[in-house]
Symmetry: C2
Subunit: 331 residues, 2 copies
């Protein structure tokens, strides 16, 4: 059932088997499996996550390579609802571990917000990440290219940079090393720091040894038309010619609501999980970009399969067997 601020009171007393924080590809896969295992689950989706911004998913078996992320989300939400999952647009404020269940405090609505609390036995953390973008006064100028010809994932989109003039925009020196992976796809790599950090002599030498120009001024403006990049104007007036590029400035991990929970093992901002996506907290599972591993839609979808299946196994094994009563011999 689709919950809204109008009808959510009908479910506030429900003890869900699973609350899924995050309605991207991983969370939706988990919901489809959980619902088909007959388990009660609630998807919480804040909107505008990484898959919402994905303009085309080029490497997922079964879908056309121009399928946008928002279409997949919409399709997956409908499928989840059809199989019996609940869905609510809301923001996960905070989670409290009550020992045998979680209390999940939500913020519903951006104006006149309410803060209902829902309960579940298990939690699936599928809130993912969002890529940091270069900050310009006119952010619309960034959005016009980011996700189109200015990519945020080399595995996804390196192919679409093939032998083109490309920029790498980094926010720290270690992130500049992506130049030496990008060069698999194109040798024409210009590296931009957006004026954010000093570059060591060793890195300057390494770039020079590869012939990759370094630009240390801030970006003033992206040039191009219809989402097709043609160049980047810097604040010192230079124009860097480029038709594509990679923004490699790190990501914000949507994991604030997990930081107060004991028993989780972190690797930086990622959760460490086992081969069924279970964290070191036995009732918390983590999917997709929040856990260690490749940030790919196909991985998140498989993660949802694994987490849902392990939770079903746990709940099933703890449940009494259903007997065929009419055949039982009365004793």
């Amino acid at each position: 059932m689709k919950l809204t601020s109008q009808n959510l009171n009908e479910r506030v007393d429900t003890l869900y088997d699973v609350i899924i924080a995050g309605g991207g590809a991983g969370g939706l896969s988990a919901a489809i499996y959980l619902a088909r295992y007959g388990l009660k689950c609630l998807i919480i989706e804040k909107g505008k996550g990484r898959s919402f911004w994905m303009q085309d998913l080029r490497n997922y078996v079964g879908l056309d390579p121009d399928t946008p992320g928002r279409d997949i989300q919409k399709h997956g939400v409908e499928q989840s609802l059809n199989w019996g999952a609940d869905y609510l647009r809301a923001y996960v404020e905070d989670i409290t571990d009550l020992g045998d269940r979680f209390a999940v405090k939500l913020k519903v609505g951006k104006v006149d917000s309410t803060y209902p609390i829902f309960h579940s036995k298990y939690l699936i953390a599928a809130t993912g990440i969002i890529d940091y973008l270069p900050q310009l006064d006119n952010m619309q100028n960034v959005y016009d290219y980011a996700g189109y010809t200015l990519h945020v994932c080399m595995i996804c989109d390196g192919f679409d940079m093939w032998d083109q003039k490309a920029v790498l925009i980094a926010a720290s020196e270690p992130q500049m090393n992506a130049a030496f992976v990008m060069n698999w796809f194109t040798p024409y790599v210009s590296v931009l720091t957006h004026g954010l950090f000093p570059v060591s002599d060793a890195m300057k030498q390494k770039l020079a040894d590869h012939g990759y120009p370094l630009y240390e001024s801030a970006i003033a403006k992206f040039h191009g038309k219809d989402h097709h990049l043609s160049g980047i104007e810097l604040t010192d007036g230079k124009i860097v010619e480029a038709t594509t590029g990679l923004i490699n400035m790190g990501s914000l991990h949507h994991n604030h609501y997990l930081k107060g929970i004991e028993g989780l093992t972190w690797d930086g901002e990622n959760l460490v999980t086992n081969d069924m996506c279970q964290t070191s907290h036995e009732r918390i599972f983590a999917l997709g970009d929040l856990k260690k591993g490749l940030n790919q839609v196909s991985i998140a979808v498989a993660d949802g399969t694994l987490a849902a299946t392990q939770i079903w196994r746990n709940i099933r094994r703890a449940s009494p067997a259903r007997k065929w009563e009419e055949n039982l011999v009365k004793t």
Copy 2:
């Protein structure tokens, strides 16, 4: 490029980066990724694998739940070809490990067969499994129901058995234990041995304790209409009422071509792999149903992503860096 017996000679001298044995969901995912990494790959598909027989894929994010496996295959083949993969309908006869490459001997064509040999640096084993079905004189009667209302995967289709009268058809006593998992979905489980094996007193008692009838005669005929099962007639004349069921008779693993290769680690008929689907042979990767783990489309698709990405990393790291020649300082 689509290869046929007419044009395959154009590629016989190619050293592929990867030959992918098996064009199901996992092999196609690997091909899409490999092609987009700019690597040369060849998919070998014998036809009529498990995903070809899948009548509807009910739990894969992005696709309608009535999507048949053959549609996904067709779509994935077109996508692979569009990105630059090669594809050939053939049967993998035998593989020889030549140390730095594999010689892959194929059988092309069912009549007037030819036996070309192709070469690759890496091998992806994605040939999967096929479920054993009860053998009747009239196999069409089995095919009329298997994969429709008579399922072969409980994780996929348990939901569609909910509270219906169901049969479990097993080929050995351990396989009968599926009754005690199926009962999550329905308590009305009748267990059939198809006359293939004796049942221990302990198992008989366990079934009786759950109220699940046991039928030890061979199956004579499936009854029903339009793929909808209504009952099963046994050779002793009894009719077992059932509208759904699970065939749990084990599977044939399509792995004969790997049996002569040294350095692989087996767990029964499954290959043991690491978290990137690499086997203990560093140039052989295994995907989906051939490796240990859940037999799900979503898992196979993710496996293809992982294997392709690790192979790309290996090949990239062993390749010279592409420099931007015109910017290099002449020394």
